[in-house]
Symmetry: C2
Subunit: 809 residues, 2 copies
């Protein structure tokens, strides 16, 4: 806190902006002007002209809004050519950019996807009449049409046509529409493989941005992947020919009797799924034939497959870095755009609080006045009352902080009477002691062994008897006491702010519910009892590596979820295709002519006086409805014994069905390899980061700012002028509190969790400076942007030079 | 070539060395001196005293030899505490450090390992009487005793005891000795699991240094690996308990009826080996039970297993770097030691050629005089006739270069008469043209498709008929013509110097041999025909990525081979244990009481008038002799259906046999993960390297040096003095050649292929300087070494500073 000028400076006259919002120019041209809005909204002439006209207040509001939109675009990585270009587009943009609209988008997409549960072949419980589901589909499609028309209004026809994803969506929409109408008219479902394309509606949702990114990354990794895949297939063909020559003279070998069989079996061998079996007939004849298989597996499985992983991993790494770079530069450009809209002609070197506050009103409407001021102060690194462009570059890092007044009390019970204080203080010390912690670990370990032994002794029978075992009650009591002590000792807020404590709490709660279920004999809840072993997870707090792993896991979770969703989208496409072709193909005893007949057998024969059911069960792995298809596809993903499913279906249809299964294998291989590469990358990155920053504690980003009473009063004055009653009331509360404790200033803490972007910032520290320089050089070579904001450009150049010199020295 | 002084400077008097060889001091003390040799061989007093005594020539020879030994130790990463400390030890050291001794070591180790082929349970063809193989074993063990005694003589008893690996070897030797004698006395084999320890003799061989490194790396990667493994097993136990509670009420589910079964089946599920089957009974009863399995596999297989890879990969990376660092510093220290033995008191700032030549005579006896001089010139970067310590640090990079006079002729046929020259020139241009290359690719592609179609048309029957197919002859003729053209156009030497041409050549040769085999109906060689498709591999020259991949593959090959050998050593241990416990346990129809009875079935029943043999073949996967065991273990490594082998053996022995299979799975998982990590690391490293050095061509390291006639004559003078006849004759040949062509100087090219170490040097360029500084700081804090070589230390410090400033600027 070096800067303690009188707050009156915030109240200076707003002046006129350096650059006018393009919507504003549009509004004025509507009034009779003649400016070419789209092509050069920011020509000096236009600015000059607008500045002369009145209604400065209105001008500024427009500027705030456009700056906020720029910042949003920067954050969401929306390209600037989709920036709304006039007031009409702005209205559509605002309509299409709020959570209600997003939710509508998502729910229609989900509705369309879920329809396949009810369309033939439907899940038995959810079957709907053709009329019903076709109508539902038409309804959903109409909603999509509405969404698209809003988007067109916002983007304009030209941009709409140029936007590839939107165009694909429009085409799919058209096809779906026609098909839905055909179904409705004919009142019967035809082969509708195009249903597989429905996923595009989900992918296009605003909330599925991560999925889109994943898909892009997968497609970008494809070229090198395909190269290595060709190598793999090439060796497969060579070995298939060799295998055919070597083993087909052996008539008891069904795997290599034709070249096609030879190829298929070596493809399956690539997945190891038929391994010792495929070798056995030839091995029985000549022991040395195992060399063929060992060489094949060594080359294909152990070498080329790993090479595939290496290539994908490397490409992935490279793409991640380039993505991070482009995102960073995109944000930087967005900030520059916004900055130009917020500086005044009188003071071109920075943004005053008044304008910053105006921006935040649009950018984050729910932020309260105190937080807006704190964000402004956190951004402002210099001694002036203005935020310069250099400071403003940190906007995204600072705006996410959650601000809280630094508490003066150490414990929640500090204000209690002496006796109570001492008791709670004692509990607090006890709870925080190592002895207490290790005692609890011991209890959990004993509990774990107890459960193991108990389960081992329990051989079959009814586990869920009315008698609650006493050990259960004892351990639960201990956990209950621990929970109570911790809650009272630390205070409920602090207790629940730790993820581990939250986990303890919920597990204990579940165990308690389980006890209730046992005691009151509530059948449907018996599964809660089964969750008891989860208590043991608490032991993982013991070791640092596990804590690291679990922390990384939680950090990765959103990304993992989006990868899982991507996989599910592929599953959906394949499930639809599978259902259209293979529904009802597989049933008990269906494949008696094939080599995998045993797995599909269902025989019910009587031995003596007992009925023995011989079941192969594989007929359950079918494509009869979408849920079954998903399970079948998961089995295919796991790969083991997938050829049984393939051969079963093939024996009932044609040889070409194998293509479906092989393509699915290759697709999942791509996705899985990328998932593995992602996990590898994330963990290796994290471990490198930890190694680089061994000393620094890793608990989020924290910023401290002090606010004096005068400053608050000054801001209240400002708000009073603009007659913002709620803000004034809020701020006055702070002043009252300061008065109550007799303080002249309050310290606030801004906190947020560390994101991958923060880590990357630190890892690529040196390179980032190079990128910035390169970027600003490019900017310089684009005179129109430069010329539009001379104030911005002048502060841009020395900044990057200065920052660079800091890193070098 | 800036340095052109008169060569007479090389002839200066050797003077007396700064530091005397420790053997020499020992020799002198033998004459009646009283120096404490081992503790402080290099005290100033000792040096002073020795220098006063005569026989300077003899002194120098000793110094050369010790310096050469230091450099060898640096290269082989032998620790300096094993440096031979006196003349007796030196004799033993020299005896134990030559290829004859190494070969003896290797062959005894191999003999011991191969004995298990002949010992019961032996491979039927190779069975030997107990008396014979026990005698052979005793003989081999006696040779090992001899080797160890030589080592003890060289190391001295103290060091011998301290050297861990040698001590373990001695203990194993003792046990083996006793057991061999017991076998010989009792004339019957007892359970000898200790035979598994025989591998230690192989591991300890000089030639198996890479295997030792791998093993060390595996053991170093273990701690983090075990942590994650525990996490894996922990989740397995939790899920086993859950699974037992959930599925044991279902009596048709054999997989979860007891806790033990539940555990075993979830362990197998971890390898996906029993996947859809283990789910099927519960899935048939309640479709939602698939959630349990999907969650289990997602957590264990797709998350924790990849985490395992990430952790191993990260540790591996880290270890590789640390290993490289320690090796680099070790070499540096070795060079410092050698340097101190080679500088004279008169000229403490560098090594003269005379002394350098003396060193090389011991270090590389087979190097010719010309190469020695060229190496010296390549090292010498300064204008003085002495090699300073800074230059000497490049010793290992330069000494590996192969020197050749730069040829003045472009083609081999330049000296031929005009007509012949023109013809060959034409062929040369043709062969190098793109059209020719792409024509050949087309031919190969057509050939490939031809083979594929031909094979596809050929359904069964005798492929190896007497009629040679005409297509075969046509294509072979084309390849033959190509080979001829290339050989004549490029000259045989240049043609065969490219790996790809070598490959072409050998494949064509094989195809030709195949044709011969077909034509003359030689049954045993028919397999050569089968190699025809390998021709297609030539297509991979087409794409740069493939060339890169294959180049990397060849670079990796030695390391891959050593990893494979490491795996084989583990196989050997497990094979011995397996044979001792499970030999003869599995046979046709052995396991009718187990769940995997079908796989071991062998039924020979008559249907109608045909005999149908129903074979499960799995009884072939046994431990009946060491070769069978290896195949079985490979099948266990591939993992698919490994539980059938496990259950078969378990049903014939006890439940505890499962432990053997599970431990084997975990061990191979470790080794395989490390192999994957290694391949990943190597390729990612290579790709990063290529990205960093996109412009530079990557064809080995080349150095150019010019030698003038006067220099050669000067060196001849030098050699004449020391009366080295062969060297003089060699050098005179160069002078004669120069005279013949009327040149005053000849340019020589030094060439060697790029090693991983070179790549690492370039990748870690910046860090290496830091390591050196750190290292020299440490040196400074060790006064005895410093004080022994003041000349060296004074040149050491400014060097590192200067080098650093170069990198920073």
């Amino acid at each position: 806190m070096q800067w303690r000028e009188l707050p009156a400076i915030y109240l200076e006259d707003p002046g006129s902006p350096v650059q006018r919002s393009s919507y504003l120019i549009e509004l004025h041209t509507d009034d009779g002007g003649s400016y070419d809005v789209v092509s050069d909204a920011s020509s000096p002439a236009a600015r000059e002209c607008c500045a002369q006209q009145g209604s400065a207040r209105h001008n500024w509001e427009m500027n705030y809004q456009e700056a906020a939109i720029y910042l949003q675009e920067g954050e969401n990585n929306d390209k600037f050519f989709t920036h709304p270009k006039n007031a009409k587009a702005l209205a559509a943009y605002l309509f299409a950019h709020n959570h209600l609209f997003y939710l509508m988008e998502l729910s229609t997409a989900l509705l369309l996807l879920l329809l396949s549960l009810c369309e033939a072949p439907a899940v038995p419980m959810l079957r709907l009449g053709i009329f019903v589901h076709a109508t539902l589909e038409l309804f959903a499609l109409i909603v999509v049409v509405f969404e698209l028309s809003m988007k067109m209004r916002w983007l304009g026809f030209q941009t709409f046509i140029r936007h590839k994803r939107t165009m694909v969506k429009t085409c799919v929409l058209l096809v779906q529409f026609i098909e839905a109408i055909v179904v409705l008219v004919r009142q019967t479902s035809h082969v509708r493989i195009t249903r597989a394309l429905r996923c595009i509606f989900l992918v296009d949702c605003r909330y599925c941005g991560a999925v889109r990114r994943n898909l892009r990354q997968i497609f970008q990794s494809l070229p090198p992947f395909i190269d290595i895949l060709l190598l793999l297939l090439f060796f497969m063909v060579i070995f298939a020919i060799l295998g055919f020559y070597l083993f087909s003279p052996n008539h008891s070998d069904p795997y290599f009797n034709t070249l096609e069989n030879s190829l298929v079996n070596l493809f399956v061998l690539l997945t190891t799924s038929n391994f010792p079996d495929v070798m056995m007939p030839s091995y029985a004849r000549n022991p040395w034939s195992c060399v063929f298989f060992i060489v094949y597996l060594s080359i294909e499985l152990y070498f080329i497959m790993n090479l595939l992983l290496a290539v994908v991993f490397d490409t992935f790494n490279d793409i991640e870095k380039r993505k991070f770079k482009s995102l960073l530069l995109h944000k930087r450009t967005a900030i520059q755009h916004a900055y130009r809209l917020l500086v005044t002609k009188q003071r071109p070197s920075g943004i005053s609080f008044k304008h910053f506050e105006g921006l935040l009103r649009f950018y984050k409407p729910r932020m309260c006045a105190r937080e807006r001021y704190l964000t402004f102060k956190a951004l402002n690194q210099s001694n002036t009352p203005l935020v310069s462009l250099k400071d403003f570059y940190n906007f995204y890092e600072v705006v996410g902080l959650k601000w809280k007044a630094k508490r003066n009390r150490e414990h929640w019970f500090d204000d209690l009477p002496r006796t109570a204080f001492l008791i709670f203080k004692g509990i607090n010390i006890l709870v925080k002691s190592r002895v207490f912690q290790y005692t609890m670990y011991t209890v959990v370990a004993v509990n774990g062994i107890w459960i193991l032994v108990e389960t081992f002794m329990l051989q079959g029978g009814n586990f869920f008897s009315r008698n609650v075992p006493w050990s259960y009650i004892v351990f639960l009591t201990i956990y209950g006491v621990e929970l109570l002590l911790k809650t009272t000792g630390l205070g409920p807020v602090e207790y629940l702010s730790s993820g581990w404590n939250l986990f303890d709490f919920s597990v204990t709660l579940f165990a308690f519910l389980g006890l209730m279920a046992l005691a009151f004999d509530m059948e449907p809840f018996y599964f809660i009892v089964v969750l008891r072993p989860l208590q043991l997870l608490r032991l993982f707090k013991l070791k640092k590596r596990y804590r690291n792993v679990l922390d990384t896991m939680f950090e990765l979770f959103p990304r993992m979820a989006s990868l899982g969703l991507t996989l599910l989208i592929f599953y959906y496409c394949f499930a639809i295709v599978g259902m259209e072709f293979f529904a009802g193909v597989v049933y008990p005893n269906c494949c008696n002519t094939s080599t995998v007949a045993d797995s599909y057998r269902w025989v019910n024969h009587t031995v003596g006086n007992k009925t023995v059911v011989e079941e192969g069960y594989y007929y359950l792995n079918n494509f009869d409805n979408i849920l079954n298809s998903f399970v079948t596809l998961f089995e295919l993903t796991v790969v083991n014994d997938w050829y049984i499913i393939m051969e079963g279906v093939t024996s009932q249809t044609t040889h070409w069905s194998r293509l479906y299964f092989m393509i699915f294998y290759i697709v999942t291989m791509v996705v899985m390899t990328i998932i593995v590469a992602f996990i590898l990358d994330a963990f290796v990155f994290r471990m490198n980061y930890t190694r680089k920053n061994q000393d620094s504690e890793d608990n989020g980003i924290v910023l401290e700012k002090e606010i004096s009473k005068e400053e608050v009063i000054g801001i209240i004055e400002l708000y009073k002028r603009t007659s913002a009653a709620t803000e004034t009331a809020q701020l006055q509360k702070i002043v009252l509190q300061m008065d109550k404790y007799g303080q002249m200033s309050t310290v606030f803490l801004g906190r947020r969790s560390r994101t991958k972007s923060d880590l990357s910032m630190k890892m690529y520290e040196e390179e980032i400076q190079e990128w910035y320089e390169e970027h600003s050089r490019k900017e310089e070579s684009q005179p129109p942007v430069q010329e539009a904001a001379p104030a911005a450009s002048s502060s841009l150049k020395p900044l990057s030079l200065r920052q660079r010199s800091q890193t070098v020295i």
